[in-house]
């Protein structure tokens, strides 16, 4: 739980406190000064330290583990192997599918990827644990591994029928189209690389487990721990006050968590386990590598007649990850004929996972590159061809858009960027050795919705507390919930304290899919409204209230004071009112669940994603939209690409806090620059192992790689999408950045790069 002193936004931001105001991050000062304590920084009595031992082969079996030397090493308390670790139960998946009735062992005997956890050492100090882990000798019976998608043994994979989307007769329409584009687009393994590595402290007290762990989903992870250890859900407490970045990777309880919690139980002492940076590349999955072919049939004016799309993504040998590659392909442009199908291919890697805009991100790289190729083929400006094929409704769901400000985004972005001054020919703009290119691409992300719960408390001193087990991983939950409560109750945001990151608080679903802000502002709004109603009700009805004699129907609360709507009669502070009626607090818990929901429904809503509402539910199709305009400079001798200018116009509906939304968008854009130009997990094909598993070799953009970025909000409130009218923010902006850059690189050089990242050797 956390208390923050609110920092107001810039001096000129009038009304920063209200929803829609530019309030600065309320958790900022604590983070900047180091006062913020992250999950694994807890100092606990009797704390012990665990270090992991990982497989050094990608495929095979553990023959034997010799742990004698490790056990004899100084400070060692326990060596955990598949034979010595306590047995756990299998847990349900994130849809809540009941697990198979069999034990779960987080330490592997059957090896399916390099870096798999095979043993762990617990010692009195971190250094002792690490030193002893190096002494554990594991011998293997190795079998040939399927290294990646291009491995001859990989095959075509498994069709995922649920991904098939078809209408019209796409192949016939393609065959008869006068203009045809067909190309293959590849994206490599990419990694979330959050600043804060994964890790946890686990402590047992009887059959109660407390886990301090960075988490994007306290209640979902608590459920998994509870099921693993066969204890009631209520017995597990997850604490995650701050999260140093997740990007999708911190939503689930992972095997390292099971190992640490098992060790804590076996030892009867708290255990801390933090991953090394290299381990963050193999202990959980990054974005799956993908391959897509996109074929477009069009007429000579660039009107699309047919799109045929085939996609493949990697998954692991025994896990299933589907990266929905047709998600953008099927909705971005109007086409009478369409076919999209997808396979997954099993390779010897850790099971891939969610990473900022899973599905939409690689999907957009395919279709937004292909439409650019079509533009050059028919000789139409890349922006114009997008407008020409604009989808006036959802072409797949055949429903109206709830809101789609994409045309406005193209217009606003093009205007600020100066797109009209672009010369059409590739290689037509240069500055000395620098070839200059301008590219455009669009992006989109569906509005994911669920139900939320929150508690709002008005205290005797007139301040307001908000509690929720949702989390803030830097995206601004603390801040916008303070704004929501402040506006709803009628106090200043200074007087609101938001407490998050403890599963004892009212429950929350996953912070993923850009849904949390919409869900939680709705829940806090509801709880705050009901607290306010109680306050006003008491003010009117309580005989001790100064308003009792007024005979008013209602009262208004503003700036922490209560008065009558017309301003006649008494005017007292909330604190004075509570004192006069003898109350020390008013408390309300609100949720946005349907009225007839059962306790089981609620549990399901907060601990699984099964209750999430489809974005095409009812009459509307709900999505956020964006248009990126990018300038690159490519050194014609060296092949180095630098992004020199970005203007993006984005439709995330209503913004609860534009300052924070802009930061999220810029973060997505910067991550998109990394994806386009730098990021790639490089596999040693003989060993099936990622070799650039550290931040000196896995490159993400530095400040020097990031130009001035201008972001423009073109959204309007979308009440079909959320209670307060916002759509998704966090994931949107990365979608479409990589193709915008690739398109700009083509404009600069005349070379079409269809394999990310666009490193220099591809251009010289």
């Amino acid at each position: 739980m956390t208390v923050h002193n609110i920092r107001h936004g810039d001096a000129f931001d009038g009304g920063a406190d209200a929803v829609g105001g530019r309030l600065s991050r309320v958790d900022g000062p604590a983070k900047i000064t180091g006062a913020a304590k992250y999950a694994v920084e807890q100092q606990l009595k009797g704390l012990t330290y665990a270090a992991l031992v990982e497989s050094t082969i990608a495929s095979g079996k553990v023959r034997a583990i010799d742990s004698k030397a490790a056990e004899a090493a100084p400070g060692v308390l326990k060596v955990l192997t598949p034979d010595t670790i306590i047995s756990l139960r299998s847990a349900s998946d994130w849809f809540g599918t009941p697990p198979p009735d069999k034990p779960y062992c987080p330490l592997a005997r059957d090896i399916t990827f390099s870096g798999q956890h095979v043993a762990a050492v617990v010692a009195e100090t971190f250094e002792q644990a690490v030193a002893a882990a190096a002494l554990v000798k594991v011998s293997y019976d190795e079998t040939p591994a399927i290294v990646d998608l291009s491995d001859g043994k990989a095959g075509d994979g498994i069709p995922v029928d649920a991904m098939t989307k078809e209408w019209g007769d796409a192949s016939a329409a393609f065959a008869s189209a006068p203009v045809r584009i067909c190309a293959a687009y590849n994206t490599p393994r990419e990694y979330q690389a959050p600043m804060e590595p994964h890790g946890l402290i686990a402590r047992w007290e009887g059959d109660h487990l407390t886990v301090w762990e960075p988490s994007q989903w306290l209640d979902g992870m608590a459920r998994t721990y509870a099921e693993w250890f066969a204890v009631p859900f209520e017995n597990v407490r997850l604490v995650s006050p701050y999260v140093g970045g997740g990007f999708g990777s911190k939503a689930l309880a992972l095997s390292h968590g099971a190992i640490a919690a098992s060790a804590a139980k076996m030892l009867g002492r708290p255990v801390r386990l933090v991953m090394t940076r290299p381990q963050t590349f193999t202990s959980y999955g990054g974005r799956a590598a993908t391959r897509q072919t996109v074929t477009i049939g069009a007429d000579r004016d660039g009107m699309i007649q047919s799109i045929v799309h085939r996609g493949v993504n990697e998954t692991s040998i025994d896990g299933m990850w589907v990266e929905p590659l047709g998600s953008v392909t099927s909705i971005m442009y109007a086409t009478p004929n369409f076919s999209s199908k997808q396979n997954v291919v099993r390779v010897n890697s850790v099971v891939p996972g969610a990473m900022r805009a899973p599905g939409e991100n690689p999907s957009a790289f395919g279709i937004e590159s292909a439409i650019d190729e079509l533009a050059y083929e028919v000789g139409i400006d890349p922006l114009e061809i997008r407008l020409k094929n604009y989808a006036e409704q959802d072409p797949h769901a055949k429903k109206a858009w709830s809101t789609r400000q994409l045309r406005e985004a193209f217009a606003a972005g093009a205007e600020r960027f100066g797109w009209a001054r672009r010369t059409a020919e590739p290689r037509s703009m240069r500055d000395g050795n620098q070839l200059i290119g301008w590219g455009v691409a669009a992006g989109t992300y569906p509005v994911r919705r669920a139900y939320g719960e929150a508690m709002v408390r008005i205290l005797a001193d007139g301040s307001v507390e908000v509690e929720s087990s949702s989390i803030d991983m830097g995206q601004g939950t603390y801040t916008i919930l303070a704004q929501t409560a402040a506006e709803t109750v009628g106090v200043s945001a200074d007087d609101v304290v938001v407490k998050l990151g403890d599963s004892r608080f009212p429950r929350a679903g996953v912070t993923g899919g850009s849904r949390l802000a919409g869900v939680m502002t709705g829940a806090v709004h509801k709880a705050a409204t009901s607290a306010l109603d109680q306050l006003i009700g008491l003010a009117i009805s309580d005989p001790r209230s100064p308003f009792h004699t007024l005979q008013a129907n209602t009262l208004v609360v503003a700036n922490g004071r209560i008065g009558s709507p017309r301003g006649d009669g008494p005017d007292v502070s909330i604190a004075e009112l509570l004192k006069s009626i003898g109350r020390d607090r008013i408390e309300a818990t609100g949720d946005t669940m349907p009225a007839n929901s059962t306790a089981e429904d609620r549990y399901k809503n907060y601990t699984t994603i099964a209750m999430a509402l489809p974005h095409t539910e009812g009459d509307y199709s709900r999505h956020s939209w964006c248009a990126h305009f990018v300038e690159v400079r490519v050194d014609e001798d060296f092949g180095t690409v630098r992004v020199s200018r970005v203007v993006s116009a984005l439709d995330s509906g209503r913004l609860y806090n534009p300052k924070l939304a802009e930061s999220q968008w810029k973060g997505g854009i910067i991550m998109g620059i990394g994806q386009a130009l730098l990021e790639e997990g490089i596999v040693d094909r003989r060993h099936g192992r990622i070799v650039n598993n550290n931040l000196a070799d896995y490159l993400v953009p530095t400040n020097a790689d990031v130009p001035e970025i201008e972001v423009i909000s073109v959204g309007i409130p979308d009440l079909h999408s959320s209670v307060l009218g916002g759509k998704g923010v966090g994931e949107l902006a990365i979608v479409g950045m990589a193709p915008a850059i690739a398109n700009a690189v083509f404009h600069a050089t005349g070379k079409r790069i269809r394999d990310l990242p666009i490193t220099l050797e591809k251009l010289i």
């Binding site: 050094t56 390099s114 250094e127 690490v130 030193a131 190096a134 290299p278 050795n433 050194d635 001798d637 060296f638 092949g639 180095t640 630098r642 130009l677 730098l678 490089i682 596999v683 040693d684 094909r685 003989r686 060993h687 192992r689 070799v691 650039n692 000196a696 070799d697 490159l699 953009p701 530095t702 400040n703 020097a704 790689d705 990242p757 490193t759 220099l760 050797e761 010289i764």
Partner: protein, 327 residues
């Protein structure tokens, strides 16, 4: 990382004596050494901390040249006014090396001694074969991921690239490494891998770098360091060039030219063939580009690093032409 003892040296002699013992290693800024200890590559029994030795961080410059103490910090040297004006390539190379935080910690002596970034070298628990770590164990890189490996100076035993920027400049300007009283040219200080890639420097146990000495020259005065890489900052070179140029009084004929390559070779690589081809010639783009191709004479690629053979001459040519433009 296993246990080791820590010893703070109080004099150069004490440091050298302590470091002569088996298992002892000198510790300067620690940005290479601690990193390698965490990877399990360096397994010191004793760390001899030399950062408290007095006077070894001095930078002295007169008309003969510059003497930079082994403990001068990278950031400090990069920012030194006389270095910037008389040896611009040194300052530029350091500015483009590593990150601000590392430059604040790292020393010049440690910088010369930094080890290769070969990923196989850095991961002993997964790749036991590495001739540089364990002589005769084989080379995991050959046949593996080679995008960052050397194309010049390689052997069957090792193709690891020397990643430092500063030493590339030093080799271009005939600098000397001072090991106390023993002075050795930088070019001779770094060894080719040959059959003994585990031996990287002409330094004996119990020796310590005390300073580097760079003679003044007109070419050093008119010099630059051009570093090309995918990421704009905080990345090792895909290819780099240190170039110094002196023109005749006609302002176009090349009197002296120094060229060295970084990011492409197993040691800092002097490109004397390029220098020889252009000395006495008029500086003009065609001739420079043609001569620059000689920089990669004899280069051998291992697949993914082929681009370096294309790239390096272009970097050299650009750097020479850029120097030609400055008056």
């Amino acid at each position: 990382m296993r246990d080791f003892s820590y010893l703070r040296a109080t004099s150069v002699d004490a440091a050298r004596q302590a470091a002569a013992l088996p298992g002892a290693m000198l510790l300067a800024g620690g940005t290479t050494l601690i990193d390698l200890a965490k990877c399990g590559v360096a397994e010191p029994d004793t760390l001899v901390d030399i950062t408290h030795l007095k006077g070894l961080d001095r930078i002295e410059i007169d008309e003969r040249g510059a003497i930079i103490g082994a403990l001068a910090r990278m950031g400090h040297v990069a920012d030194h006014d006389d270095i910037k004006s008389r040896f611009p390539a040194i300052s530029e190379a350091l500015w483009q090396a590593a990150s601000a935080q590392i430059r604040n910690m790292a020393t010049i002596g440690g910088n010369l001694m930094q080890r290769t970034r070969c990923p196989y070298f850095r991961d002993p628990s997964n790749f036991s074969a590495c001739n540089k770590r364990v002589s005769g164990s084989g080379c995991s890189a050959i046949g593996g991921v080679t995008r960052g490996h050397a194309v010049l100076g390689t052997s069957d035993a090792c193709i690891a690239m020397y990643p430092g920027d500063l030493a590339t400049v030093l080799v271009a300007f005939d600098a000397t490494v001072r090991l106390g009283d023993r002075h050795i040219r930088v070019d001779d200080f770094f060894l080719l891998p040959g059959t003994t890639p585990d031996r990287e420097h002409a330094i004996e146990p119990g020796e310590m770098i005390t300073a580097i000495e760079i003679p003044s020259s007109a070419a050093a005065h008119r010099s630059t360091y051009l570093k090309v890489r995918d990421r704009q900052s905080y990345e090792f070179a895909a290819a780099s060039a240190a170039v110094g140029l002196e023109l005749e009084s006609d302002g176009r004929t090349i009197r002296d030219l120094r060229v060295a390559l970084g990011g492409v070779a197993t040691k800092p690589w002097r490109a004397r063939a390029v220098e020889a081809a252009l000395k006495g010639k008029v500086l003009e783009p065609e001739a420079v580009r043609a001569a620059s191709l000689l920089a990669v004479e004899g280069a051998v690629d291992h697949g993914a690093n082929h681009y370096k053979i294309e790239l390096a001459p272009r970097v050299v040519a650009r750097a020479i032409l850029k120097m030609g433009e400055t008056a």
